[in-house]
Symmetry: C2
Subunit: 347 residues, 2 copies
DNA sequence: AGCTTTTCAGAAAAGCTTTTCTACATTCTA
DNA sequence: TAGAATGTAGAAAAGCTTTTCTGAAAAGCT
């Protein structure tokens, strides 16, 4: 079942069928066109994209490389990529790396072999240098999300600023012992968040205490155990800022399990603003990231690059602190919590 | 940069390069092989999968069709598909439908044109008949997840049984007014869960009250508003069973916002066992689905079909009720809650 | 040494599409 | 009416790989 069968059935040549299907070349005579269309319909012909791509040297396919689709921030992003890709007739190949360098390299090879037109790399953490060399050598456009210092256009949020703001929010509430649960420190985005946190403390004249910094892995369990150990430790923090919402929610669970009230006894702030952040109780104060939009922007970047247009080296997208109920003033120095009054009191 | 360049550089013929690369045909003499491999290395040659697929008539590509990647149950499933696919050298094209029939049809066309070897359709809800006709007409293997009554092998869990079990759990705790927040009723899986719920009530001699059944859309917001209206309604339930965890967590938030204790005043049970179900407080009692395994099984099914092996029409996977802290006995008839004692009391 | 068998390599076709170039009708112009 | 211009169609090449078939060289046998 190929274009030849269609041509035969319509009593025209292969070229004519192709011209009808692609609306290319000179305009085909209406009745001929009609015959072709009918033949296509009757035979249920689907042009072979392999042969097409082979000839045209583009496949309308992009790869989306993601560290961990299980982290609810990434599906959002993937959706942004998929929606704008499919809106432009592109398909996306889903590549999950589990933050393993070899899986990244594997997928780069795969995408190169499949002659993908573009590749979007989200997150990161793994060493990029070998990969970026390869990508530059081949005819494939690349964009990265959430990473800078790379030879590709990127979509970014201001991690330093956002972490600074979140930390400042806590300082302004009166907190002085503010813990930070980071993600994997190998990630530049995590380093940036850590720097923002430290900078906020420094500017407010709060002495840095590295016993209050723990390295997590973005999984809720790591937030849980870090918070548990912080809250039972010798320098008990009155607030915890976690580098993502899943760890923050883990931290909330730890506080709960230790019988501590949030935010009366510990404030907790997250990062990402995943859907669940709004539905957890108390609702999580967090930094809201435009996940969908980041994916969509990256895909738009790729589309531009493919069509040979200029495109900005860095696209900055806004992150915004959204204050909900998990952050409040610290307990008084005697340790007694300041209770909130108002609408959310028990009936 | 193609196989011809490699052949030239290695001083051999194209055929020999192909044989070396694919380990096919007769064994190539070691030194010739060495020369070819060196040439490949030096030139950074990547065989063109389009040309390959064109000839071989298989692409080592499968499509994964998902209703809503934003629902945390699906990333799990996608991961299962991706991991087993990539383990066998397959790539997966990510297709998000938003439960729209036309997007499903669009993606089927795309996959057909790309000559994907297989297609995995998860969830569903949209009418399948046009699509299943097309799929049978073409040379593509198909498997479905979470749907039966379809002319393709499927991976299933026993939705009726699982909902029955969850409801029974609540009945056994002493609940009689048990509400059900469903997903979209067009989904067979949702109908099954509803039937399981009803069957459990029937068997226990509890009269069915359809005022306690609300149709949600699997989003937390719908769980929140359904629960809110139920808990403020005239026939206030003592327990709520939601058709997925996101709605259950929404329901928990509603209870909290109404100043009601979970589980002392309302028990809440979910479905899916997403990661957050364990970290929400109180931890959510829910039906645990093997999301990853369902994805992996479906992919294995496809692999079997591709290699021409027989494969079971239906693969049943176990769902299991996991009882956590969001379900307990109903409040006494005077309305006063039964409080739990023990480890979770405040320090 | 002369023959058969084995080992290894290359030529060429096939797989399906797009596109350029050639060619035939038809219509218009002088 | 002869010729040019225009409109429409087909033939064929190119894009890259796999695989079959043919063939040459090396090895084995009597």
């Amino acid at each position: 079942m190929n274009i030849r069968d269609v041509a035969q059935r319509a009593g025209v040549s292969i070229s004519t069928v192709s011209r009808v299907l692609n609306d290319t070349g000179y305009p085909v005579k209406p009745e001929t066109r009609q015959r072709v269309l009918e033949a296509v319909e009757e035979l249920g012909f689907r042009p072979n994209d392999l042969a097409r791509g082979l000839h045209l040297k583009r496949t309308r396919t992009v790869g989306l490389v993601i560290p961990d689709i299980t982290n609810p921030y990434y599906p959002e992003l993937a959706l942004g990529v998929e929606a704008t890709a499919s809106g432009e007739g592109y398909s996306v190949i889903f590549c999950n790396t589990n933050r393993r360098a070899e899986k990244l390299e594997h997928y780069v090879d795969v995408l190169l072999q499949k002659r993908a037109d573009g590749i979007i790399i989200a997150g990161g953490g793994t060493d990029f240098s070998p990969v970026s060399q390869v990508l530059s050598d081949f005819d494939i456009e690349a964009a990265v999300i959430g990473r800078h210092n790379l030879p590709f256009p990127s979509v970014q949020i201001d991690n330093v600023g956002a972490a600074y703001e979140a930390t400042s929010h806590l300082v302004e509430l009166g907190h002085e012992r503010i813990a930070f649960i980071s993600g994997p420190l190998s990630l530049t985005s995590v380093q940036d968040r850590l720097n923002g946190y430290r900078e906020a403390l420094r500017r407010r004249g709060i002495e840095r205490d590295d016993r209050l910094v723990r390295e997590g892995d973005f999984q809720p369990e790591s937030g849980y155990s870090a918070a548990r150990s912080l809250l039972q430790g010798s320098v008990r923090p009155t607030a915890i800022f976690a580098a993502n919402d899943r760890m923050a929610i883990g931290a909330m669970a730890a506080a709960f399990d230790l019988g501590m009230e949030v935010p009366e006894e510990v404030s907790i702030v997250g990062f990402d603003d995943i859907t669940m952040a709004s539905y957890v109780r108390p609702a999580l104060t967090t930094v809201s990231l435009p996940g969908y939009e980041m994916g969509a922007s990256a895909m738009r970047l790729i589309l531009k690059l493919i069509s040979g247009k200029e495109c900005p080296r860095v696209t900055w997208l806004p992150a915004e602190l959204v204050v909900r109920d998990s952050s409040g003033p610290p307990p008084r120095s005697d340790g007694s919590p300041i209770r909130k009054g108002g609408v959310e009191d028990k009936i």
